[in-house]
């Protein structure tokens, strides 16, 4: 019982962070058909900058986080600009975003070193959940922040004008153009929102765990896994898939051991793909 509860709480935190990360990746793909290999840059850069601002300028954690997310958004805009003229060329987009991600990874490696860094949490302390099951408060806060952000995003997409336009463009770009929607603006908005989400995910992750340069590519694996499972371009699909993967991940770690967690996660995904190639919620291309 207590084990199940533990898997539930830890898995929800993991899934929430995955969801913030992967839903942005999926949104960008949905709107522009860009496979953004530089999505992990937004995730890592915000976490690194928060740590840097706190350490070098003694900024408090909350202001530092806002700055970090701001820089993540800037990076997102930069990636948008970088891919603007080669967007039609799938291979080139992969190349450019991947090369940019590796460039930033090297930069982080040279300026911060290969060792992982940790961030001071928003809240210190431990919360007793049940009997001896204690959980760091920051992990519970991360769950709350992730869920609140995802709900806000859902509201944004289904209720606001920009959100509806994002939805329209990702469903049928030609029809959206005919309706007079400025596709370019929608794309920019999508990049900015997605980058901010990745930035938030990075900060939450670095508070619970740690951040290191190789994370830039590592998080892409999770994002890939999520979008394959949830279906490319489907926002709700990626959110559901994120939590599923979060639980699989934590449950495997708990039962078989950490070395199996990624192996099992990846094998599960390949298996699902063999049975249902378009993912759980995917539409046929």
């Amino acid at each position: 019982m207590i084990e199940l509860l533990e898997i539930f709480v830890f898995g929800t935190a993991m899934g929430g962070i995955f969801a913030l990360l992967a839903s942005g990746f999926s949104l960008i793909f949905g709107v522009s058909r860009i496979l953004n290999f530089a999505h992990g840059v937004c995730f890592s850069i915000s976490a690194y900058l928060v740590i840097y601002f706190i350490k070098e300028f003694s900024v408090d954690i909350f202001s530092a986080s806002i700055l970090g997310i701001f820089f993540a958004v800037l990076v997102g805009f930069f990636v948008y600009a970088l891919t603007k003229y080669i967007r039609h060329n799938v291979v080139m987009v992969i190349i450019v975003t991947l090369a940019f991600a590796l460039l930033v990874e090297q930069f982080l490696l040279l300026s911060f070193g290969n060792r992982g860094l940790t961030m001071p949490p928003f809240v210190e302390g431990i919360q007793v959940i049940y009997e001896n099951l204690r959980i760091a408060k920051v992990r519970l806060l991360a769950i709350a922040i992730a869920i609140a952000t995802l709900l806000a995003l859902e509201f944004f997409i289904s209720r606001t004008i920009i959100g509806k336009r994002i939805n329209a463009v990702s469903q049928d770009i030609e029809a959206a153009k005919l309706l007079g929607i400025n596709v370019e603006k929608v794309l920019i908005a999508t990049f900015l929102i997605s980058s901010a989400l990745a930035g938030i995910a990075g900060i939450l992750y670095a508070q619970i765990f740690n951040i290191y340069p190789a994370m830039i590519l590592r998080v892409l694996i999770y994002a890939f896994a999520v979008v394959i499972l949830g279906g490319l371009g489907s926002f709700r699909g990626s959110v559901v898939a994120s939590f599923i993967i979060g639980y699989i991940f934590v449950a495997t770690m708990k039962t078989l051991g950490a070395q199996w967690s990624e192996f099992v996660m990846l094998i599960t995904i390949v298996a699902i793909l063999a049975v249902r190639p378009t993912g759980l919620f995917g539409v046929k291309e």
């Binding site: 793909f29 496979l35 970088l82 003229y85 080669i86 060329n89 799938v90 291979v91 080139m92 992969i94 190349i95 450019v96 991947l98 090369a99 940019f100 590796l102 460039l103 090297q106 930069f107 040279l110 300026s111 590519l217 694996i221 890939f224 896994a225 979008v227 394959i228 490319l232 070395q259 199996w260 990624e262 192996f263 990846l266 094998i267 995904i269 390949v270 793909l273 063999a274 190639p277 378009t278 291309e285």
Partner: protein
Amino acid sequence: MKAIIPLAFLLAILPMFVPSAYLYLIGLALLFAVLVASWDLMVGYTGQVNLGHTTFVGLGAYTAAILQLPARIGAAFDVHPIVAVILAGVLSAFFGLAIGLLTLRLKGYYFSLVTAILPLVFMQKVFVWRGVFGGEEGFSIPSEKILVATTLEKYYVAAIFAIISLGVIYAILRSKIGLRFKAVRDSEELAEALGIDTTKYKILAFVLSSFFAGVAGAIFVNYRMTVAPDLYDVPLMLLIILSAVIGGLGTLWGPFLMGIIVYLAKNWWLTAFRFGIVNEEIILYAILIAVAILMPRGVYNEVKEKLRRFAKS
């Protein structure tokens, strides 16, 4: 194709001018160039973006390593290194077939996404069964069980392999099969209308490309005498993609030569530029981004075009 002969000649006389430490690197660069050329065979000629080429490099590498050192799996048999290298290629090709059957019938981005996570699955295998595969540090093969021993011999093995591979890939692409690959790339609908079984040809290209990757991986192991998970890893994959794309997809020669240039640049020429927050990798990636944006058809094609125009005027 005629250029293969002078290339072979140049590679044959190179050891007379170049000291052995660099010869060692040039041999590695040639092996790497085969990886790039074989990736181009799949991606440049059939248009299917394979992000998991290193799966087959690593698979070939570990297969050969274990066949040459069967004590790792508690077996006792003797396989000649050449046989081990070829079997490594065959096994890679076989896996390529299985994975191709599973993924290439799907259209769109799924092939790319699945191949992107494949090397990671295989890499995990190395960590999970550490006793056999040696985990992170891999394992080394004693020199008496290796294909050839000295740097000079290794260099020639790499050079001969590179020349043969280039020749064979070129021949395939010139044949009827090659034409069908291109038909699939240029318009899948049209190819299907012409009665070409597109899935079959995609799988064929994938199998061939995996075979070369597997053999190259096996020779890598014999070359440096250790096998380690870096042969599966993302940085190697990226280097392959970058070289092929900058060289010019679908030109074979462009990716092959660019493979040599990029590998040597990364591990030799650019190592002098290391100061503060800049190192050779940062310079390389920056150049590559610039080239990709400014010359999206690859350096080889763009320069060729310029030269042609220059010759006309």
